[in-house]
């Protein structure tokens, strides 16, 4: 249960807003971090915490594409398919990923490790093509780099190829 586990955080979140309902997205995001998706039980609990009805929570949750209402794989690969990425090869990468993982966009691998989604612009079009996996961005992708990221994730659960604080282009003389 969310409340039991995150009492302090939830109290702090609620204190940020004069109206309880404003904490709805933060709580839905929290629930998703907890379980990988937003379960019906979590929505019911959130409704209780915020004095809402479960349909009010559900109607809001269904509006936002980041909220998964069904379980997904451990690593959620969201590759950008919008036009700026498309201009520099994202379609080929999506194809490559489908082949490598043996699944289509929208599916999860049999071992429940990877779910593949093709999404709209993630705000990193200057370093395209790009993808997000769980919290992390991976940019200036090539098939080779994506392959390495997948291997890292399989082995270590994380990859050093993820982006740090963003600045592009890097000014001459830095680093």
């Amino acid at each position: 249960m969310l409340l039991e586990k995150h009492q302090e955080l939830i109290t702090e979140l609620l204190s940020r807003y004069p109206v309880k309902r404003s904490a709805l997205l933060p709580l839905l995001n929290l629930a998703q971090r907890e379980e990988g998706y937003v379960s019906e039980a979590a929505m019911k609990e959130i409704a209780k915490i915020l004095d809402l009805t479960p349909p009010q929570v559900y109607e809001t949750a269904t509006f936002y594409t980041m909220l998964n209402l069904k379980p997904i794989g451990k690593f959620h690969i969201q590759i950008c398919k919008s036009i700026m990425c498309g201009l520099v090869g994202s379609d080929d990468l999506i194809q490559w990923l489908q082949n490598r993982l043996g699944i289509r966009v929208g599916q999860t691998t049999g071992d429940r490790l990877f779910t593949l989604s093709a999404v709209e612009c993630l705000g990193s079009c200057g370093t395209a093509p790009m993808m997000q996996i769980n919290d992390d961005y991976y940019e200036q992708l090539t098939a080779e780099k994506v392959g390495r990221v997948l291997e890292d994730l399989r082995r270590e659960g994380t990859s050093p190829l993820k982006s740090g604080p963003f600045m592009f282009p890097q000014p001459a003389g830095s680093r």
């Binding site: 398919k81 520099v88 709209e120």
Partner: protein, 436 residues
């Protein structure tokens, strides 16, 4: 490459600059706030911003000081500031850099704005995908609180300015200011009818200012160096200051370039961006201001990047995203790919947008799949006419811009595909249709 004095990216481009409070203070950070609290009235801060000519960097380009002055001074209840950090307009990636590399610049701008409009609370509505940015901002807020720049009794002045990060959960429309407010209230992010405007009836129906990240990041510099200084940069009197243009697509060096407004597309693309990615290919098209802006052609290369010039040439400066397309790019494909975005992101509130985006997409897909019909082009234009200007927010105008402008400049490409209609598969070497 010509060098211009940068304002917003100056600090972060110093070697070793980490964006910590210490770094920010060392480069003169929070001096604007100290200066104001020593005796510049809120009305005077608003006047300084008004006189600087600063206009919003989020898309619409509304004069910032004027917007602030619409907030009622004698309002008995709370007022709010919302920083629009939704940055979801395809082609735009500047706010991300401003937040991740120099968060205190934004925070100082927000505290100053809270002071000017009399708000005690500011929310940063950041798109949910920017997890790193949100974490960096949370940390910076903590630092600033410890140092007394944020919170109760800022620097002992009696000013209260609480600032919170509020993450969205994936919806482009939440960048529209009233949809942002709905979302911040915990609802579906659907735009509100205007008027009333947020300045009088905003968050929780209280007076509210919504400003973009880049807009707010300019405030400390304007306060420190003065309205006249700012107004002398760029293309005064209507387009003052610098802009961070986000260059993407088929250029050699894509990325964020902060330049004074009023340089030409040619300078931005060929000097800053190093020209075309492939020397043998000519430039074919430009999206001048994010996905919502009407396309330009190579004939527009000498148009100046300021609000008026771009508008006069038939498009808009928008969010500052400039995308370059080389020879060989299918403009029908480009319009279709953009329409996939608009179809996916239409919030569904207004019928012309909800139904129209689906019709537009289906028609474009049909043409691209070589199954178009001769009458499709007129139908596309007719659909656009029935969407534009008939929706609550500017999303409707945005979604028709790529269709109308590609049809204006590259109608022959559409006609050619329709002539090929009996061939059902895309020819070899062309960008494949991606469907799922």
């Amino acid at each position: 490459m010509p060098q211009y004095e940068k304002i917003l990216l100056k600090n972060m481009e110093q070697p070793g600059y980490s964006g910590s409070l210490q770094d920010y203070e060392r480069t003169g950070g929070y001096q604007a706030l100290r200066k104001v609290l020593k005796g510049i009235s809120p009305a005077d801060v608003t006047d300084i911003v008004k006189n600087s000519g600063l206009r919003g960097r989020g898309g619409a380009g509304f004069p910032t000081g004027v917007k602030w002055s619409f907030v009622p001074k004698d309002h008995p209840g709370p007022k709010y500031l919302c920083c629009n950090a939704d940055e979801s307009e395809p082609g735009t990636f500047k706010d991300r850099q401003l937040m991740e590399r120099d968060p205190h610049q934004l925070l100082e701008g927000m505290v100053l704005t809270c002071y000017a409009i009399g708000a005690q609370t500011g929310y940063i509505y950041i798109r949910g995908e920017f997890r790193l940015g949100a974490t960096i901002l949370e940390r910076a807020i903590e630092e600033a609180k410890q140092a007394g720049y944020i919170g109760q009794n800022v620097l002992g002045s009696g000013l209260t300015a609480n600032i919170y990060v509020h993450a969205g959960a994936g919806a482009y429309i939440c960048g529209e200011e009233t949809a942002l407010l709905e979302s911040l209230e915990g609802k579906r992010g659907m735009p509100r009818f205007k008027p009333p405007f947020p300045a009088t009836h905003g968050l929780y129906q209280q007076p509210t200012v919504v400003n973009n990240v880049e807009t707010l990041a300019n405030i400390p510099h304007i306060v420190t160096r003065g309205a006249e200084w700012f107004a002398s940069i760029g293309a005064p009197p209507r387009s003052t200051g610098t802009r961070i243009f986000c260059l993407s697509g088929h250029v050699k060096w894509p990325g964020n370039y902060e330049v004074p407004m009023g340089i030409t597309f040619r300078e931005l693309i060929f000097e800053n961006g190093g020209g075309m990615r492939s020397d043998s290919k000519k430039l074919k098209g430009i999206i001048p201001g994010g996905a919502s802006a009407a396309f330009f052609t190579e004939e527009h290369l000498d148009v100046k990047l300021d609000f008026e010039s771009v508008a006069q040439a038939g498009s808009m400066l928008g969010s500052g995203g400039v995308t370059v397309m080389e020879e060989g790019t299918s403009m029908v494909w480009a319009a279709m790919r953009l329409m996939e975005f608009f179809y996916h992101e239409s919030c569904g509130k207004c019928t012309p947008c909800r139904e129209g985006s689906s019709w537009l997409l289906q028609t474009l897909q049909r043409i691209w799949a070589r199954r178009g019909r001769a009458e499709d082009l007129d139908m596309l234009l007719d659909l656009c006419k029935n969407i534009e200007g008939r929706t609550i927010c500017a999303f409707g105008d945005a979604e028709v811009a790529p269709v109308v402008s590609t049809l204006r400049y590259w109608r022959n490409e559409y006609e050619e595909l329709i002539r090929e209609a009996e061939v059902t598969r895309p020819a070899k070497g062309e960008i494949p249709v991606f469907t799922h």
